[in-house]
């Protein structure tokens, strides 16, 4: 799959709903991985903005004054006041265009975030801080491992970084699950599996025959 094909399929390929080809391309292409990361960040920020609420009336007044000064909008004359119910065409096109663009961007981001038929998770993060906390920071051991891989095989560095991120995310979810339900067999299984995965990544990276 090429980058162009991946980008075309991107709106329908939200996380958790990607085809095998998309995942494979994502793993091998750092440019597309960056793009997806940026879109995710925008999406999270957009959700944070939804909670901001409407700006105060003073803000709108200031915008109107500035636009009037620019000549983009003007106060209606006497004759025009007679047709006050008619929306001034210049004003509507001036306002509607950025509003429509903002709505399109927001709709696109929300659609990308949700994916086709995917429900919004009740515990989805709404602030940047929560989003940042979802991505575990690499530990000193992880950083050392990545540096070691980068020295031997620079081309594999990004791949191992992504692998460690996946694994650490798994460990964090599993630890939370065990913390919530200490006697739950499934939670214990997740944690055991997650640590096994991490051990595998370290093993693969450190074996002399492999990068």
């Amino acid at each position: 799959m090429t980058c162009a094909e991946f980008e075309q399929a991107l709106p329908d390929a939200s996380e958790g709903n990607r085809e095998f080809e998309h995942e494979q391309h994502l793993r091998s292409c750092s440019a597309c991985r960056s793009l997806v990361a940026d879109l995710n960040a925008i999406s999270q920020q957009a959700r944070a903005l939804q909670d901001c609420g409407d700006p105060s009336p003073r803000v709108w007044n200031s915008i109107e004054i500035a636009l009037t000064r620019e000549g983009i909008i003007r106060q209606p004359s006497r004759g025009e006041l007679a047709s006050v119910h008619r929306f001034p065409s210049r004003w509507s096109s001036a306002w509607l265009l950025p509003v429509a663009a903002a709505l399109l961007v927001t709709a696109g981001v929300v659609r990308y975030e949700r994916g086709p038929g995917q429900r919004v998770m009740p515990n989805a993060p709404t602030t940047t801080a929560q989003v940042a906390s979802m991505r575990p920071e690499p530990s000193p051991d992880d950083r050392q491992l990545i540096e070691s891989v980068a020295l031997r095989s620079p081309a594999m560095k990004a791949s191992y970084e992504a692998n460690l991120q996946d694994v650490n995310s798994y460990i964090r979810d599993a630890e939370q699950s065990v913390k919530n339900n200490p006697n739950d067999e499934a939670a214990q299984q997740y944690l055991s599996n997650a640590y096994e995965q991490r051990e595998m990544v370290y093993e693969m990276a450190e074996e002399r025959s492999l990068p």
């Binding site: 995942e23 995310s169 798994y170 699950s177 499934a186 997740y190 093993e203 074996e207 025959s209």
Partner: protein, 285 residues
């Protein structure tokens, strides 16, 4: 005129032969005499490895080296054979490639390590241990032995594996299991999908778990299983009407189910943290 044509043809042939000779791959063959229960270990960073069953007391290795930037270090100690593709300075994924075709006794144990692969093993009943970074793994027609596969992002396909202890650990690679049964079948995936199509036979323990990867298991209508399935954040669907069972396992409609079918001979656990789980009934024609 004729002689000019012939001269031109001769020049073309000479040039072609020169090109072929200049880029000729180096083909090597090794033969090892072994006894029962031989073990073969191959470490090959770049290139495919294919292992098949053959003569009882002999290991035959055919290796094609893609350049002089790689050499093969081979050794034998009794019935233990080791092969290592030794990369020389300046080698890369192309020049360092070696293609292995190996024929081993059917009861031999095989250990393969590769980055790019692919890896292929068939018709053995000894232990098979594979480690791959991104190499695709294809195992078929194995019986009785232990099968261990570890992969970061390679696709793993197992076909017709019977009476084996199967343990697969995959970080991001999908795992496809077709007609795999045995006393133990365990798949631990992080984001890779797990797809099982079989009968959950052999009175075994089947455990398919993932972090975010979806799990799809297809079984016949007369499967004999004690099944437990749960996803913390994903959907869980069963096409079967399960007999309820006494269990402390929390049942939550849409995200967990537990029950039995038939005599509940095999134990089946399908756990995913946020992937979707679907226990499908195989359609009979």
């Amino acid at each position: 005129m004729l002689s000019r044509q012939r001269a031109a043809q001769l020049v073309v042939v000479v040039v072609l032969v020169g090109v072929v000779l200049a880029t000729a791959e180096d083909r090597k063959e090794f033969r090892f005499k072994v006894r029962k229960g031989a073990s073969i270990s191959v470490v090959n960073q770049y290139g495919p490895i294919s292992v098949k069953a053959g003569a009882r007391k002999e290991v035959l290795v055919t290796a094609i080296l893609h350049s002089d930037k790689v050499e093969i270090d081979q050794g034998q100690s009794g019935s233990r054979i080791t092969l290592l593709s030794h990369l020389l300075p300046g080698a890369d994924a192309t020049s360092g490639q070696v293609e292995y075709q190996i024929v081993v006794p059917a009861d031999a144990s095989v250990t393969l390590h590769s980055t790019t692969g692919p890896l292929h093993v068939e018709k053995l009943h000894g232990d098979v241990i594979l480690e791959s970074n991104t190499a695709n793994v294809d195992l078929r027609d194995l019986a009785d032995g232990h099968v261990h596969v570890k992969t970061l992002n390679g696709l793993v396909t197992l076909t017709n594996i019977v009476d084996g202890h199967v343990e697969i650990t995959s970080l991001g690679g999908d795992v496809m299991l077709n007609a795999v049964s045995g006393p133990l079948v365990e798949v631990n995936s992080s984001s890779g999908r797990i797809n099982y199509d079989g009968d959950f036979g052999g009175e075994g323990e089947y455990s398919l778990t993932s972090h975010t990867g979806d799990i799809e298991a297809t079984a016949p209508g007369d499967a004999s299983i004690d099944v437990t399935a749960r996803s913390e954040q994903g959907k869980v669907i069963s096409d079967f009407s399960l007999q309820p069972k006494h269990t402390s396992f929390p049942i939550r409609a849409g995200s967990a189910f537990a029950g039995t079918m038939g005599k509940a001979a095999s134990s089946v656990r399908l756990f995913s943290f946020s992937g979707k789980i679907h226990l499908k009934k195989r359609q009979t024609n």
